[in-house]
């Protein structure tokens, strides 16, 4: 018997539906869709070879209870440390722009949200959100962390060798949502920088007035980096589990998320990137599933974001007496050779 089932509610994009099916495969749970926005028709046009498992509203709201809705709604609880209801709960993720339907929300036993520390987009790609929710609901893996200065705990982020620009874009969107403001991208497969993107360039030029965004710094596979400590996160590793690894190690360390469909982690020279190299593994119930970079990377980013923590809510009190101090410092590096990707662009991934 399965521990859960995944339901996509009102999904519009068949590519997202395909990725949600892959997320369900990652966690070895069945997946269904409540089609309220013409997904079945588009699915037949684009992906005629595969079948789309559908479920109607009555079955979802009556026979598939208890329901855990993944939605950033009033009264929702963080998914970190959340317990799932007894039985076989249905984890419901919603439409790309409108979220989970109101009828599902009102019937849900539990509503959880994925906390995000970013100033930009506050939503993930729907398949990435499904993977993150299933990861934390499958097992309780630590609760929310409060930190007085979370930004000082945030490591640098490096995406290594993504094969597909949509996977890379969705991962960048996740990184922006979880609070990263710049990302190094080892684009050895030519998935991001070398694609013909005249339309994207136009959109970028038009959207420069938008505040925020994420800087994507191109690095070569042979570049030397200067981090004190790097942590490589993957699923095909013999390494400590990710929630037991120390990921919130500050800006002098880096998280590296290699695309394991293209990179053999064991044969890569990681020592060129940092003085100390560590590995961490994402624990999944099965090894046989179609690998999707955005899903694995989003789980890693969510766990790192959980460990970085959120700023504690301040109670009104007397301001702390700060002793006078003067520092002599060298200004940090500036990354001029970076591409600026706006949040508006990332919404399309």
């Amino acid at each position: 018997m399965n521990w859960s089932q995944l339901v996509g509610d009102g999904i519009e994009n068949p590519m997202n539906a395909r990725a949600i099916l892959d997320a369900a495969d990652m966690f070895n749970v069945p997946c269904f869709f409540r089609d309220t926005r013409g997904l079945a028709d588009r699915w037949r046009e684009d992906l005629a070879s595969a079948s789309l498992p559908l479920v109607d509203t009555d079955t979802l709201l009556e026979a598939m209870r208890p329901i855990v809705a993944v939605e950033n709604a009033p009264g929702s609880r963080p998914v970190y440390g959340a317990t799932r209801p007894s039985g076989t709960p249905s984890v419901v993720v919603g439409n790309e722009r409108r979220g989970v339907g109101r009828d599902v929300l009102s019937s849900a036993e539990k509503i959880v949200h994925i906390p995000m520390g970013g100033r930009g987009p506050n939503t993930l790609n729907v398949a990435a959100a499904a993977a993150v929710a299933l990861y934390y609901l499958a097992n309780r893996r630590g609760g929310s962390v409060q930190s007085s200065r979370p930004e000082h705990r945030r490591p640098a982020l490096l995406l290594a060798g993504p094969c597909d620009h949509v996977e890379a874009g969705s991962t960048l969107r996740s990184a922006a949502a979880f609070g990263w403001r710049s990302v190094c991208l080892d684009d050895r497969r030519g998935a991001w920088f070398d694609t013909p993107r005249p339309i994207r360039a136009e959109g970028r030029a038009a959207a420069r007035s938008h505040r925020g965004g994420i800087r994507v710094v191109r690095i070569a596979p042979t570049d030397r980096l200067a981090y004190e400590e790097i942590t490589i996160i993957g699923i095909r590793l013999d390494a400590p589990l990710i929630h037991r690894a120390r990921l919130a190690t500050g800006s002098r360390s880096a998280l590296i998320l290699p695309d394991e469909s293209a990179i053999d982690i064991s044969s890569e020279d990681w020592a060129r990137m940092g003085r100390s190299v560590r590995f961490a593994r994402i624990d999944l119930p099965t090894k046989k599933f179609p690998y999707r970079y955005r899903l694995v990377a989003s789980i890693a980013l969510a766990e790192a974001s959980r460990q970085i923590g959120a700023r504690a809510r301040k109670l009104p009190s007397r301001p702390p007496t700060q002793r006078l101090a003067y520092e002599s410092t060298l200004a940090a590096g500036v990354l001029e050779a970076a591409e600026f990707v706006t949040h508006e662009e990332l919404r399309d991934y």
């Binding site: 002098r252 410092t329 001029e336």
Partner: protein, 231 residues
């Protein structure tokens, strides 16, 4: 002209206080000295004998405490370097400094490279630094690069990293001037204003004076080194 015993020029007051840090405020000032000389005159003794009686003049340098650096890091300036440096620049720089501590850096420190910190009043923290060469992520700001080059570093830049090579004793001198003497510059601004624990001027002016003081010290040190070489 005021005859108050508390209006000595900074240099004279520092000289007097560092030799007797625990004495009461009036002890050792010129009025007491003159009074002593009058008494000696009455007794038939002279001023020269008074100086001989007091013996060679020495003062206690600030305490320097060292915490061992982490593997891969070092303290470029040792406690002995710091003591000889402070001795060279005299009591004006040492007056009022309670402690100089060589520390490890916190692992979650800010992305900036922290050289030293002055905690008012009179505590200077100097932080461990990576061994040469420094591998710095990203391209550094041009001002930072010119500062490193002026300190004697050899810089290699690439689009994503900057490497700073520190030949000979350039790293030690960089830390001593841009770290220690810069913070002593801040300390002097606070110490000789009479309000040691409150902000005496806006930070920008404070920084400008501290930098000017560090530059002056570097110049004096270099002149002495050049003089030694020619001699």
């Amino acid at each position: 002209m005021s005859r108050s015993k508390h209006t000595d020029p900074d240099r004279i007051r520092a000289q007097r206080r560092v030799f007797a840090p625990r004495d009461a405020r009036g002890v050792g000032d010129l009025s007491g000295d003159r009074e002593a000389r009058r008494l000696l005159k009455v007794l038939g003794l002279h001023g020269a004998e008074l100086e001989e009686a007091s013996g060679p003049r020495s003062y206690r340098l600030p305490r320097v405490r060292e915490v061992r650096p982490r593997p891969g890091f070092l303290h470029p300036a040792s406690p002995a370097d710091i003591r000889s440096f402070l001795s060279f620049f005299g009591p004006v720089c040492a007056y009022g400094i309670r402690l100089i501590e060589l520390r490890q850096q916190a692992p979650n420190a800010s992305p900036e490279i922290l050289l030293a910190v002055l905690r008012v009043p009179g505590t200077i923290l100097m932080f461990e630094q990576p061994a040469s060469p420094w591998l710095l992520s990203g391209q550094m700001h041009p001002d930072t690069i010119s500062r490193l080059i002026a300190a004697g570093a050899r810089i290699e830049t690439s689009p994503i990293s900057t490497i700073a090579h520190w030949p000979d004793e350039t790293l030690r001198d960089f830390i001593l001037f841009d770290g220690l003497m810069h913070e002593i510059g801040h300390h002097l601004v606070q110490q000789y204003r009479g309000k040691r624990e409150s902000r005496v001027m806006r930070t920008k002016d404070h920084e400008r004076r501290a930098s000017a003081f560090a530059d002056l010290c570097r110049h004096v040190w270099k002149e002495r080194a050049d003089g030694d070489r020619t001699a």
